[in-house]
Amino acid sequence: EDKVVQSPLSLVVHEGDTVTLNCSYEVTNFRSLLWYKQEKKAPTFLFMLTSSGIEKKSGRLSSILDKKELFSILNITATQTGDSAIYLCAADREYGNKLVFGAGTILRVKS
């Protein structure tokens, strides 16, 4: 059975801290790994990772995929209170566009 596991489940940090969120996956016919940020309503897209070892960056956020060890990490540097959200990791498979989501990591950044 396909599964995506995220850790930690929740995290509380102070502004300015750096955080690393983890995502491991066991998915047949794996194609790509996606990260979403969800604040109050709809998840918003952060990154799609297809190739191993190539870091993607957007401002203070970065992510990388390891297809050999089947995991991805999402790094957030110099955290701000606006980074408080649920971060969702999802695996995409070949043959059918259905994402398998992890349970999410709840991040709270305290001022």
């Binding site: 995220q6 979403y36 709809a42 998840p43 897209f45 999802a90």
Partner: protein, 113 residues
């Protein structure tokens, strides 16, 4: 540009009452459409997906059903709601062959009382 509309935003319904949530997509043709449910503060569980009009696949057995009467319309229904149907329901779309992840609607928070 493509947009996705989902309504209502919130809903409080008594146990045993019917349910109808609607999702429509604009600016694209023949999208794949999805219904997800999210328990409080947790990940997303796929309920239904559809690759075309009248084509519905169910991922988990449950008290809900879905229909796709038009290309860009996806409806989630129930004849009799249960307390366990409470949650945050999200509609999403993607395009087969040009998959770059989902675009989500703004969600419906359903509370069954």
């Amino acid at each position: 540009s493509q947009t996705i509309h989902q309504w209502p935003a919130t809903l409080v319904q008594p146990v045993g009452s019917p349910l109808s949530l609607e999702c429509t997509v604009e600016g694209t043709s023949n999208p794949n459409l999805y219904w997800y449910r999210q328990a409080a503060g947790r990940g997303l569980q796929l309920l239904f997906y559809s690759v075309g009009i009248g084509q519905i696949s169910s991922e988990v057995p449950q008290n809900l059903s879905a229909s796709r009467p038009q290309d860009r319309q996806f409806i989630l229904s129930s004849k009799k709601l249960l307390l366990s149907d409470s949650g945050f329901y999200l509609c999403a779309w993607s395009v087969l062959g040009r998959f770059w992840g989902y675009t989500f609607g703004s969600g419906t928070r359903l509370t069954v009382v």
